[in-house]
Protein backbone atom coordinates (compact mmCIF):
# COMPACT_ATOMS: atom_id res chain seq x y z
CA UNK A 1 0.00 0.00 0.00
CA UNK A 2 1.32 3.43 -0.83
CA UNK A 3 1.85 5.81 2.05
CA UNK A 4 -0.59 8.20 0.34
CA UNK A 5 -3.32 5.57 0.79
CA UNK A 6 -2.22 5.04 4.38
CA UNK A 7 -2.81 8.66 5.33
CA UNK A 8 -6.01 8.80 3.24
CA UNK A 9 -7.48 5.92 5.26
CA UNK A 10 -6.55 7.42 8.61
CA UNK A 11 -7.95 10.79 7.58
CA UNK A 12 -11.21 9.17 6.46
CA UNK A 13 -11.52 7.27 9.74
CA UNK A 14 -10.79 10.43 11.75
CA UNK A 15 -13.55 12.21 9.87
CA UNK A 16 -15.98 9.46 11.00
CA UNK A 17 -15.11 10.11 14.64
CA UNK A 18 -12.42 7.44 15.17
CA UNK A 19 -9.69 8.88 17.43
CA UNK A 20 -6.01 7.95 16.94
CA UNK A 21 -4.31 5.93 19.69
CA UNK A 22 -0.62 5.04 20.06
CA UNK A 23 0.09 1.39 20.88
CA UNK A 24 2.96 -0.11 22.91
CA UNK A 25 5.48 -2.07 20.81
CA UNK A 26 5.73 -4.93 23.34
CA UNK A 27 3.13 -7.08 25.04
CA UNK A 28 3.29 -9.57 27.89
CA UNK A 29 3.41 -12.99 26.22
CA UNK A 30 0.72 -14.38 28.54
CA UNK A 31 -1.88 -12.35 26.64
CA UNK A 32 -1.18 -14.15 23.38
CA UNK A 33 -3.27 -17.30 23.21
CA UNK A 34 -3.95 -17.90 19.52
CA UNK A 35 -2.04 -20.77 17.94
CA UNK A 36 -1.32 -18.84 14.78
CA UNK A 37 0.14 -15.91 16.65
CA UNK A 38 2.01 -17.93 19.27
CA UNK A 39 4.03 -19.83 16.70
CA UNK A 40 5.65 -16.75 15.28
CA UNK A 41 6.43 -14.55 18.27
CA UNK A 42 9.64 -12.67 18.92
CA UNK A 43 9.99 -13.12 22.69
CA UNK A 44 12.39 -12.11 25.42
CA UNK A 45 12.45 -12.23 29.23
CA UNK A 46 13.00 -9.26 31.51
CA UNK A 47 15.27 -9.49 34.56
CA UNK A 48 12.37 -10.78 36.67
CA UNK A 49 11.78 -13.63 34.24
CA UNK A 50 8.55 -12.20 32.79
CA UNK A 51 8.17 -13.07 29.11
CA UNK A 52 7.43 -10.26 26.66
CA UNK A 53 6.87 -10.30 22.89
CA UNK A 54 7.05 -7.79 20.12
CA UNK A 55 3.41 -7.05 19.29
CA UNK A 56 2.24 -9.67 16.78
CA UNK A 57 -1.13 -8.00 16.22
CA UNK A 58 -2.29 -4.44 16.71
CA UNK A 59 -5.93 -5.20 17.29
CA UNK A 60 -5.09 -7.31 20.35
CA UNK A 61 -2.71 -4.61 21.64
CA UNK A 62 -5.34 -1.96 21.28
CA UNK A 63 -7.98 -3.97 23.20
CA UNK A 64 -5.54 -4.77 26.03
CA UNK A 65 -4.54 -1.12 26.33
CA UNK A 66 -8.16 0.03 26.35
CA UNK A 67 -9.26 -2.63 28.85
CA UNK A 68 -6.64 -1.38 31.28
CA UNK A 69 -8.18 2.11 31.29
CA UNK A 70 -11.23 3.02 33.33
CA UNK A 71 -13.17 4.26 30.33
CA UNK A 72 -16.66 2.74 30.39
CA UNK A 73 -18.15 4.93 27.68
CA UNK A 74 -18.48 4.00 24.05
CA UNK A 75 -15.22 4.87 22.34
CA UNK A 76 -14.31 4.87 18.65
CA UNK A 77 -10.58 4.48 18.08
CA UNK A 78 -8.17 3.94 15.22
CA UNK A 79 -4.58 2.74 15.33
CA UNK A 80 -1.84 2.16 12.82
CA UNK A 81 1.68 0.76 12.79
CA UNK A 82 3.69 -2.40 12.42
CA UNK A 83 3.14 -5.87 13.81
CA UNK A 84 5.96 -8.38 14.06
CA UNK A 85 5.81 -12.10 13.29
CA UNK A 86 8.60 -14.48 12.41
CA UNK A 87 6.79 -15.97 9.41
CA UNK A 88 6.20 -12.74 7.58
CA UNK A 89 7.96 -9.53 6.78
CA UNK A 90 6.88 -6.55 8.81
CA UNK A 91 3.12 -6.19 8.49
CA UNK A 92 1.57 -2.77 8.70
CA UNK A 93 -1.94 -2.55 10.02
CA UNK A 94 -4.62 0.09 10.31
CA UNK A 95 -7.54 -0.73 12.54
CA UNK A 96 -10.83 0.87 13.51
CA UNK A 97 -12.67 -0.36 16.57
CA UNK A 98 -15.63 0.58 18.74
CA UNK A 99 -15.18 -0.27 22.42
CA UNK A 100 -17.92 -0.63 25.04
CA UNK A 101 -20.22 -1.34 22.14
CA UNK A 102 -23.51 -3.13 22.77
CA UNK A 103 -25.33 -2.37 19.68
CA UNK A 104 -25.85 -3.88 16.24
CA UNK A 105 -25.62 -0.42 14.71
CA UNK A 106 -21.94 -0.47 15.64
CA UNK A 107 -21.48 -3.71 13.69
CA UNK A 108 -23.00 -1.99 10.71
CA UNK A 109 -20.81 1.09 11.19
CA UNK A 110 -17.60 -0.99 11.32
CA UNK A 111 -18.60 -2.94 8.20
CA UNK A 112 -19.54 0.29 6.44
CA UNK A 113 -16.17 1.81 7.26
CA UNK A 114 -14.45 -1.34 6.03
CA UNK A 115 -16.16 -0.90 2.67
CA UNK A 116 -15.16 2.78 2.64
CA UNK A 117 -11.52 1.90 3.41
CA UNK A 118 -11.53 -0.69 0.63
CA UNK A 119 -12.85 1.88 -1.81
CA UNK A 120 -10.09 4.30 -0.81
CA UNK A 121 -7.40 1.91 -1.97
CA UNK A 122 -8.84 0.19 -5.02
CA UNK A 123 -11.47 0.54 -7.69
CA UNK A 124 -11.71 -3.24 -8.07
CA UNK A 125 -14.92 -5.08 -7.23
CA UNK A 126 -15.11 -5.90 -3.53
CA UNK A 127 -16.30 -9.13 -1.93
CA UNK A 128 -17.77 -8.80 1.55
CA UNK A 129 -18.28 -12.12 3.33
CA UNK A 130 -20.21 -12.24 6.57
CA UNK A 131 -20.41 -15.14 9.02
CA UNK A 132 -21.49 -15.61 12.59
CA UNK A 133 -19.94 -17.77 15.29
CA UNK A 134 -23.05 -17.64 17.49
CA UNK A 135 -24.92 -19.31 14.69
CA UNK A 136 -22.30 -22.07 14.53
CA UNK A 137 -22.48 -22.46 18.29
CA UNK A 138 -26.30 -22.74 18.07
CA UNK A 139 -25.94 -25.53 15.50
CA UNK A 140 -23.55 -27.42 17.80
CA UNK A 141 -25.86 -26.98 20.77
CA UNK A 142 -28.72 -28.61 18.90
CA UNK A 143 -26.78 -31.74 18.01
CA UNK A 144 -27.00 -34.99 19.97
CA UNK A 145 -23.34 -35.13 20.89
CA UNK A 146 -21.68 -34.92 24.32
CA UNK A 147 -21.04 -31.42 25.64
CA UNK A 148 -17.30 -31.94 25.73
CA UNK A 149 -17.37 -32.67 21.99
CA UNK A 150 -19.34 -29.47 21.38
CA UNK A 151 -16.69 -27.54 23.30
CA UNK A 152 -13.88 -29.31 21.47
CA UNK A 153 -15.32 -28.35 18.09
CA UNK A 154 -16.09 -24.79 19.13
CA UNK A 155 -12.66 -24.13 20.60
CA UNK A 156 -10.82 -25.51 17.59
CA UNK A 157 -12.86 -23.96 14.79
CA UNK A 158 -10.00 -21.47 14.25
CA UNK A 159 -7.54 -24.15 13.33
CA UNK A 160 -9.19 -25.62 10.21
CA UNK A 161 -6.87 -28.60 9.79
CA UNK A 162 -7.22 -29.72 13.39
CA UNK A 163 -10.94 -28.95 13.41
CA UNK A 164 -11.59 -31.35 10.53
CA UNK A 165 -9.38 -33.96 12.20
CA UNK A 166 -11.58 -33.74 15.32
CA UNK A 167 -14.70 -33.83 13.17
CA UNK A 168 -13.54 -36.99 11.47
CA UNK A 169 -12.97 -38.59 14.89
CA UNK A 170 -16.51 -37.66 15.84
CA UNK A 171 -17.68 -39.17 12.57
CA UNK A 172 -15.91 -42.50 13.02
CA UNK A 173 -16.79 -42.90 16.70
CA UNK A 174 -13.31 -44.25 17.34
CA UNK A 175 -11.91 -41.83 19.81
CA UNK A 176 -11.92 -43.23 23.29
CA UNK A 177 -13.81 -46.49 23.39
CA UNK A 178 -11.09 -49.14 23.07
CA UNK A 179 -8.94 -47.77 25.87
CA UNK A 180 -11.90 -47.00 28.09
CA UNK A 181 -12.77 -50.71 28.15
CA UNK A 182 -9.28 -51.56 29.46
CA UNK A 183 -9.38 -48.68 31.94
CA UNK A 184 -12.68 -49.79 33.49
CA UNK A 185 -10.82 -52.50 35.44
CA UNK A 186 -8.40 -49.94 36.85
CA UNK A 187 -11.37 -47.66 37.56
CA UNK A 188 -12.87 -50.17 40.00
CA UNK A 189 -9.46 -50.67 41.62
CA UNK A 190 -8.93 -46.94 42.02
CA UNK A 191 -12.39 -46.50 43.54
CA UNK A 192 -11.10 -48.31 46.60
CA UNK A 193 -8.26 -45.80 47.09
CA UNK A 194 -8.33 -42.64 49.19
CA UNK A 195 -10.09 -40.08 46.92
CA UNK A 196 -7.78 -37.33 48.16
CA UNK A 197 -4.61 -39.19 47.21
CA UNK A 198 -2.64 -37.19 44.65
CA UNK A 199 -1.20 -38.74 41.49
CA UNK A 200 1.00 -36.44 39.41
CA UNK A 201 -0.79 -33.31 40.55
CA UNK A 202 -4.35 -34.67 40.27
CA UNK A 203 -6.50 -36.23 42.97
CA UNK A 204 -7.96 -39.71 42.53
CA UNK A 205 -11.37 -38.09 43.00
CA UNK A 206 -10.98 -35.67 40.11
CA UNK A 207 -9.68 -38.41 37.79
CA UNK A 208 -12.55 -40.75 38.62
CA UNK A 209 -15.17 -38.01 38.36
CA UNK A 210 -14.01 -37.02 34.87
CA UNK A 211 -13.78 -40.67 33.79
CA UNK A 212 -17.28 -41.31 35.08
CA UNK A 213 -18.52 -38.28 33.17
CA UNK A 214 -17.01 -39.62 29.97
CA UNK A 215 -18.38 -43.14 30.22
CA UNK A 216 -21.64 -42.72 32.10
CA UNK A 217 -22.96 -39.16 32.39
CA UNK A 218 -21.98 -37.71 29.02
CA UNK A 219 -21.02 -40.71 26.87
CA UNK A 220 -20.60 -40.83 23.10
CA UNK A 221 -23.80 -41.48 21.16
CA UNK A 222 -24.24 -43.20 17.80
CA UNK A 223 -25.25 -39.77 16.47
CA UNK A 224 -21.63 -38.76 15.81
CA UNK A 225 -21.63 -39.54 12.10
CA UNK A 226 -24.93 -37.78 11.47
CA UNK A 227 -23.85 -34.75 13.51
CA UNK A 228 -20.54 -34.47 11.68
CA UNK A 229 -22.44 -34.46 8.38
CA UNK A 230 -24.73 -31.66 9.56
CA UNK A 231 -21.74 -29.60 10.70
CA UNK A 232 -19.97 -30.05 7.37
CA UNK A 233 -23.11 -29.14 5.40
CA UNK A 234 -23.69 -26.09 7.56
CA UNK A 235 -20.14 -24.87 7.01
CA UNK A 236 -20.69 -25.22 3.27
CA UNK A 237 -23.58 -22.74 3.25
CA UNK A 238 -22.68 -19.76 1.12
CA UNK A 239 -25.25 -17.48 -0.48
CA UNK A 240 -26.11 -13.87 -1.17
CA UNK A 241 -26.94 -11.96 1.98
CA UNK A 242 -30.59 -11.42 0.88
CA UNK A 243 -31.20 -15.17 0.58
CA UNK A 244 -29.36 -16.15 3.78
CA UNK A 245 -32.30 -16.10 6.26
CA UNK A 246 -34.41 -18.33 3.99
CA UNK A 247 -31.60 -20.76 3.14
CA UNK A 248 -30.55 -21.06 6.78
CA UNK A 249 -34.20 -21.46 7.88
CA UNK A 250 -34.70 -24.29 5.38
CA UNK A 251 -31.46 -25.96 6.49
CA UNK A 252 -32.44 -25.82 10.16
CA UNK A 253 -35.93 -27.20 9.43
CA UNK A 254 -34.60 -30.01 7.28
CA UNK A 255 -32.16 -31.08 9.97
CA UNK A 256 -34.66 -30.57 12.82
CA UNK A 257 -32.52 -27.91 14.48
CA UNK A 258 -34.54 -25.59 16.64
CA UNK A 259 -32.73 -22.34 15.84
CA UNK A 260 -34.37 -18.97 15.41
CA UNK A 261 -32.64 -16.69 12.96
CA UNK A 262 -31.99 -13.60 15.01
CA UNK A 263 -31.74 -10.17 13.44
CA UNK A 264 -28.23 -9.58 14.73
CA UNK A 265 -26.87 -12.37 12.53
CA UNK A 266 -27.17 -10.02 9.58
CA UNK A 267 -26.01 -6.43 10.17
CA UNK A 268 -26.54 -5.99 6.44
CA UNK A 269 -29.77 -7.45 5.11
CA UNK A 270 -29.69 -6.18 1.55
CA UNK A 271 -26.80 -5.51 -0.72
CA UNK A 272 -27.01 -1.83 -1.56
CA UNK A 273 -23.28 -1.33 -1.96
CA UNK A 274 -22.16 -0.41 -5.46
CA UNK A 275 -19.53 -2.69 -7.06
CA UNK A 276 -19.65 -5.07 -4.11
CA UNK A 277 -20.80 -8.65 -3.69
CA UNK A 278 -22.18 -9.27 -0.19
CA UNK A 279 -22.43 -12.91 0.86
CA UNK A 280 -23.30 -14.90 3.93
CA UNK A 281 -20.62 -17.55 4.36
CA UNK A 282 -20.93 -19.97 7.29
CA UNK A 283 -17.26 -20.94 7.09
CA UNK A 284 -16.08 -17.33 7.23
CA UNK A 285 -13.93 -17.92 10.29
CA UNK A 286 -10.50 -16.30 10.60
CA UNK A 287 -7.53 -18.22 11.96
CA UNK A 288 -7.20 -16.12 15.10
CA UNK A 289 -9.29 -17.00 18.12
CA UNK A 290 -10.60 -13.60 19.09
CA UNK A 291 -14.15 -13.22 17.79
CA UNK A 292 -17.38 -14.09 19.57
CA UNK A 293 -20.19 -13.62 17.04
CA UNK A 294 -20.04 -11.49 13.87
CA UNK A 295 -17.06 -12.19 11.60
CA UNK A 296 -16.43 -10.67 8.20
CA UNK A 297 -13.79 -10.12 5.57
CA UNK A 298 -13.36 -7.89 2.53
CA UNK A 299 -11.48 -9.26 -0.48
CA UNK A 300 -10.71 -8.47 -4.09
CA UNK A 301 -10.16 -10.83 -6.98
CA UNK A 302 -6.69 -11.27 -8.34
CA UNK A 303 -5.88 -13.99 -10.88
CA UNK A 304 -9.29 -15.60 -10.24
CA UNK A 305 -8.52 -15.93 -6.54
CA UNK A 306 -9.96 -13.88 -3.69
CA UNK A 307 -7.37 -12.02 -1.64
CA UNK A 308 -8.52 -10.90 1.81
CA UNK A 309 -7.32 -7.49 2.85
CA UNK A 310 -9.69 -6.57 5.66
CA UNK A 311 -10.78 -8.82 8.53
CA UNK A 312 -13.14 -7.89 11.29
CA UNK A 313 -15.80 -8.92 13.72
CA UNK A 314 -17.22 -8.65 17.19
CA UNK A 315 -15.08 -9.70 20.16
CA UNK A 316 -17.21 -9.43 23.26
CA UNK A 317 -15.39 -11.99 25.40
CA UNK A 318 -11.76 -11.46 24.49
CA UNK A 319 -10.72 -9.02 27.21
CA UNK A 320 -12.32 -11.07 30.00
CA UNK A 321 -10.75 -14.26 28.63
CA UNK A 322 -7.38 -12.52 29.03
CA UNK A 323 -8.12 -11.71 32.66
CA UNK A 324 -8.90 -8.04 31.96
CA UNK A 325 -12.12 -6.16 32.62
CA UNK A 326 -14.98 -7.17 30.27
CA UNK A 327 -15.25 -4.91 27.24
CA UNK A 328 -17.64 -5.59 24.39
CA UNK A 329 -16.13 -4.51 21.13
CA UNK A 330 -16.40 -4.63 17.36
CA UNK A 331 -13.68 -3.74 14.93
CA UNK A 332 -11.74 -4.42 11.76
CA UNK A 333 -8.25 -3.99 10.41
CA UNK A 334 -6.50 -3.82 7.09
CA UNK A 335 -3.03 -5.28 6.89
CA UNK A 336 -0.34 -5.39 4.27
CA UNK A 337 3.14 -6.85 4.11
CA UNK A 338 6.04 -4.51 3.51
Amino acid sequence: MKSKNFSKIIKALNSKGFKNVELDPVIETKYIRGVNLKKYLFTFNDDKGVSFSLRPDLSLMSLIQFSKTKNYNKQKITYSGESYRKNKNIRSQIGWEIYNSNNQKDDYEVINNSVAVFKKITKKKGYLKIGNLELFSSVLNQLQIPNRWKQRLMSNIWNKKYFYEILSRLETNKDDEDEIEVDKKLFYKMKKLDPNQIVAGRSIKEILTRFDLKINKDPRTPEGKKSAKIIKRFLNIKCSIEKAPKILGDFFNKNKLNIKIANNYFPIKKNKIKNFSVEFCASEIPDVQIYSSLVFSVSFKSKNKLTKIINGGRFNNLSSSLGLRPCKAVGAAISFIQ
Partner: protein, 228 residues
Amino acid sequence: MKNKFTIILPSKGRLRQNSLNIFKKKKLKILSDKGERDLAGYVNSKKFKIQVIFLHAREGIEALANGTADICVSGIDLLKDSDPSIQKKIKIYKTLNFGHADLYICSPIQFLDLQSMLDVSEIASDFIKYKKQPLKIGTKYKRLVEKFLIEKNVKNVEIVESKGATEAMPRLSQASLIGEIVSSGKTLVANDLRPLKKDGLILKSSAACMVAKKSLNKKGIKKILSLF
Protein backbone atom coordinates in the same frame (compact mmCIF):
# COMPACT_ATOMS: atom_id res chain seq x y z
CA MET B 1 48.56 -32.95 1.98
CA LYS B 2 45.65 -35.13 3.09
CA ASN B 3 42.36 -33.41 3.86
CA LYS B 4 41.39 -33.74 7.51
CA PHE B 5 37.86 -34.66 8.64
CA THR B 6 36.37 -34.82 12.10
CA ILE B 7 33.57 -37.28 12.76
CA ILE B 8 31.61 -37.25 16.01
CA LEU B 9 30.13 -40.53 17.18
CA PRO B 10 27.85 -41.10 20.18
CA SER B 11 29.86 -41.87 23.30
CA LYS B 12 27.47 -44.31 24.96
CA GLY B 13 25.05 -47.19 24.57
CA ARG B 14 23.51 -48.75 21.52
CA LEU B 15 23.97 -45.64 19.39
CA ARG B 16 27.74 -45.91 19.95
CA GLN B 17 27.80 -49.64 19.21
CA ASN B 18 25.73 -49.34 16.03
CA SER B 19 27.85 -46.41 14.84
CA LEU B 20 31.02 -48.42 15.39
CA ASN B 21 29.48 -51.29 13.41
CA ILE B 22 29.30 -49.02 10.36
CA PHE B 23 33.07 -48.63 10.46
CA LYS B 24 33.56 -52.33 11.17
CA LYS B 25 31.52 -53.31 8.12
CA LYS B 26 33.71 -51.11 5.94
CA LYS B 27 36.76 -52.72 7.54
CA LEU B 28 37.91 -49.42 8.98
CA LYS B 29 39.43 -49.61 12.41
CA ILE B 30 39.15 -46.73 14.84
CA LEU B 31 42.49 -46.57 16.57
CA SER B 32 43.34 -44.93 19.82
CA ASP B 33 46.61 -44.42 21.62
CA LYS B 34 45.05 -44.73 25.04
CA GLY B 35 42.70 -47.66 24.63
CA GLU B 36 38.91 -48.08 24.54
CA ARG B 37 38.09 -45.41 27.11
CA ASP B 38 39.76 -42.72 25.06
CA LEU B 39 37.20 -40.21 23.73
CA ALA B 40 39.32 -39.49 20.68
CA GLY B 41 40.60 -41.78 17.95
CA TYR B 42 41.55 -41.81 14.33
CA VAL B 43 41.01 -43.92 11.25
CA ASN B 44 44.00 -45.03 9.29
CA SER B 45 43.32 -44.21 5.69
CA LYS B 46 45.65 -43.69 2.79
CA LYS B 47 43.56 -40.91 1.31
CA PHE B 48 42.21 -39.02 4.28
CA LYS B 49 43.02 -38.06 7.80
CA ILE B 50 39.90 -38.92 9.84
CA GLN B 51 39.68 -37.93 13.46
CA VAL B 52 36.89 -39.59 15.48
CA ILE B 53 35.60 -38.03 18.69
CA PHE B 54 33.09 -39.67 21.01
CA LEU B 55 30.61 -37.21 22.50
CA HIS B 56 27.05 -37.11 23.82
CA ALA B 57 24.64 -37.23 20.84
CA ARG B 58 23.42 -33.68 21.59
CA GLU B 59 26.99 -32.34 21.69
CA GLY B 60 27.72 -33.87 18.29
CA ILE B 61 25.06 -31.66 16.75
CA GLU B 62 26.51 -28.59 18.48
CA ALA B 63 29.97 -29.48 17.19
CA LEU B 64 28.66 -29.55 13.60
CA ALA B 65 27.00 -26.18 14.04
CA ASN B 66 30.03 -24.45 15.56
CA GLY B 67 32.36 -25.79 12.89
CA THR B 68 34.49 -28.09 15.06
CA ALA B 69 33.30 -31.22 13.25
CA ASP B 70 32.24 -32.20 9.73
CA ILE B 71 30.05 -35.26 10.25
CA CYS B 72 28.19 -36.75 13.17
CA VAL B 73 25.91 -39.61 14.03
CA SER B 74 23.08 -38.45 16.23
CA GLY B 75 19.31 -38.65 16.70
CA ILE B 76 16.88 -36.80 14.43
CA ASP B 77 14.88 -35.94 17.56
CA LEU B 78 17.85 -34.07 19.01
CA LEU B 79 18.46 -32.17 15.80
CA LYS B 80 14.81 -31.14 15.48
CA ASP B 81 14.77 -30.01 19.10
CA SER B 82 17.88 -27.88 18.73
CA ASP B 83 17.89 -24.12 18.18
CA PRO B 84 16.75 -23.14 14.64
CA SER B 85 20.10 -21.33 14.18
CA ILE B 86 21.82 -24.69 14.71
CA GLN B 87 19.41 -26.63 12.50
CA LYS B 88 19.97 -24.40 9.52
CA LYS B 89 23.71 -25.20 9.54
CA ILE B 90 23.18 -28.97 9.39
CA LYS B 91 21.97 -31.33 6.68
CA ILE B 92 20.65 -34.84 7.32
CA TYR B 93 22.69 -36.87 4.85
CA LYS B 94 21.11 -40.24 5.57
CA THR B 95 18.72 -41.72 8.12
CA LEU B 96 20.21 -44.86 9.66
CA ASN B 97 18.49 -48.11 10.48
CA PHE B 98 19.01 -47.96 14.23
CA GLY B 99 18.17 -45.75 17.18
CA HIS B 100 14.46 -45.91 16.31
CA ALA B 101 12.40 -44.05 18.87
CA ASP B 102 9.19 -42.07 18.93
CA LEU B 103 8.64 -38.94 20.95
CA TYR B 104 5.25 -39.13 22.68
CA ILE B 105 3.19 -37.27 25.22
CA CYS B 106 2.83 -39.80 28.06
CA SER B 107 0.57 -39.86 31.07
CA PRO B 108 0.40 -41.83 34.33
CA ILE B 109 -1.74 -44.97 33.85
CA GLN B 110 -3.96 -43.70 36.66
CA PHE B 111 -5.16 -40.87 34.39
CA LEU B 112 -8.03 -43.04 33.13
CA ASP B 113 -9.88 -40.08 31.74
CA LEU B 114 -7.05 -39.08 29.45
CA GLN B 115 -6.97 -40.76 26.06
CA SER B 116 -6.18 -38.01 23.61
CA MET B 117 -4.70 -34.53 23.24
CA LEU B 118 -8.26 -33.18 23.41
CA ASP B 119 -8.40 -34.52 26.96
CA VAL B 120 -5.02 -32.90 27.71
CA SER B 121 -6.45 -29.59 26.55
CA GLU B 122 -9.54 -29.96 28.76
CA ILE B 123 -7.59 -31.07 31.82
CA ALA B 124 -5.22 -28.11 31.36
CA SER B 125 -8.24 -25.77 31.32
CA ASP B 126 -9.49 -27.41 34.53
CA PHE B 127 -6.07 -26.83 36.12
CA ILE B 128 -6.29 -23.09 35.47
CA LYS B 129 -9.94 -22.93 36.46
CA TYR B 130 -9.79 -24.89 39.71
CA LYS B 131 -6.16 -24.94 40.80
CA LYS B 132 -5.16 -21.54 39.37
CA GLN B 133 -2.02 -23.04 37.89
CA PRO B 134 -1.01 -24.48 34.52
CA LEU B 135 -0.72 -28.18 33.81
CA LYS B 136 2.96 -29.12 33.97
CA ILE B 137 4.59 -31.22 31.26
CA GLY B 138 8.13 -32.44 31.84
CA THR B 139 10.47 -33.06 28.93
CA LYS B 140 14.01 -32.91 27.60
CA TYR B 141 12.56 -31.84 24.24
CA LYS B 142 11.22 -28.39 25.08
CA ARG B 143 11.02 -26.99 21.55
CA LEU B 144 9.36 -30.01 19.98
CA VAL B 145 6.83 -30.41 22.78
CA GLU B 146 6.00 -26.71 22.79
CA LYS B 147 5.44 -26.68 19.02
CA PHE B 148 3.29 -29.81 19.23
CA LEU B 149 1.10 -28.35 21.98
CA ILE B 150 0.56 -25.20 19.94
CA GLU B 151 -0.49 -27.30 16.92
CA LYS B 152 -2.99 -29.18 19.08
CA ASN B 153 -4.30 -25.92 20.52
CA VAL B 154 -3.40 -26.94 24.09
CA LYS B 155 -3.25 -23.85 26.28
CA ASN B 156 -2.65 -23.38 29.99
CA VAL B 157 0.43 -25.62 30.14
CA GLU B 158 3.92 -25.08 31.50
CA ILE B 159 6.90 -26.97 30.14
CA VAL B 160 9.25 -28.15 32.89
CA GLU B 161 12.68 -28.94 31.50
CA SER B 162 14.11 -32.27 32.52
CA LYS B 163 17.80 -32.97 32.76
CA GLY B 164 17.65 -36.70 33.34
CA ALA B 165 15.04 -39.24 34.36
CA THR B 166 11.94 -37.61 32.91
CA GLU B 167 9.87 -40.73 33.67
CA ALA B 168 10.22 -40.01 37.40
CA MET B 169 8.70 -36.52 37.16
CA PRO B 170 5.01 -37.52 37.52
CA ARG B 171 5.83 -39.71 40.51
CA LEU B 172 7.50 -36.72 42.18
CA SER B 173 4.60 -34.46 41.13
CA GLN B 174 7.13 -32.29 39.27
CA ALA B 175 4.93 -32.73 36.19
CA SER B 176 1.56 -34.31 35.45
CA LEU B 177 2.54 -35.48 31.96
CA ILE B 178 5.81 -35.98 30.17
CA GLY B 179 7.05 -35.68 26.58
CA GLU B 180 9.51 -38.53 26.22
CA ILE B 181 11.16 -40.88 23.77
CA VAL B 182 9.52 -44.30 23.62
CA SER B 183 11.33 -47.22 21.99
CA SER B 184 10.37 -50.54 23.56
CA GLY B 185 8.03 -48.90 26.08
CA LYS B 186 9.45 -50.94 28.96
CA THR B 187 10.73 -47.91 30.91
CA LEU B 188 7.30 -46.31 30.69
CA VAL B 189 5.54 -49.44 31.93
CA ALA B 190 8.03 -49.75 34.80
CA ASN B 191 7.14 -46.22 35.84
CA ASP B 192 3.34 -46.63 35.50
CA LEU B 193 3.18 -44.44 32.42
CA ARG B 194 1.63 -44.88 28.97
CA PRO B 195 2.02 -43.00 25.70
CA LEU B 196 -1.01 -41.26 24.18
CA LYS B 197 -1.04 -43.57 21.19
CA LYS B 198 -4.09 -41.97 19.59
CA ASP B 199 -2.72 -38.55 18.77
CA GLY B 200 0.15 -37.91 21.17
CA LEU B 201 2.94 -38.78 18.75
CA ILE B 202 5.21 -35.77 18.39
CA LEU B 203 7.97 -37.17 16.21
CA LYS B 204 9.17 -40.44 14.73
CA SER B 205 12.92 -40.51 15.10
CA SER B 206 15.96 -42.62 14.33
CA ALA B 207 19.70 -42.13 14.21
CA ALA B 208 21.04 -40.23 11.22
CA CYS B 209 24.28 -39.30 9.61
CA MET B 210 24.43 -35.51 9.66
CA VAL B 211 26.84 -33.20 7.94
CA ALA B 212 27.77 -29.58 8.52
CA LYS B 213 26.57 -27.63 5.46
CA LYS B 214 29.86 -25.74 5.51
CA SER B 215 31.81 -28.99 5.15
CA LEU B 216 29.91 -30.00 2.02
CA ASN B 217 32.42 -27.94 0.01
CA LYS B 218 35.42 -29.83 1.43
CA LYS B 219 37.26 -31.97 -1.06
CA GLY B 220 36.65 -35.67 -0.35
CA ILE B 221 33.59 -35.22 1.86
CA LYS B 222 31.42 -37.29 -0.49
CA LYS B 223 33.76 -40.26 -0.11
CA ILE B 224 33.61 -40.04 3.64
CA LEU B 225 29.83 -39.71 3.60
CA SER B 226 29.56 -42.78 1.40
CA LEU B 227 30.79 -44.79 4.38
CA PHE B 228 27.35 -44.38 5.86
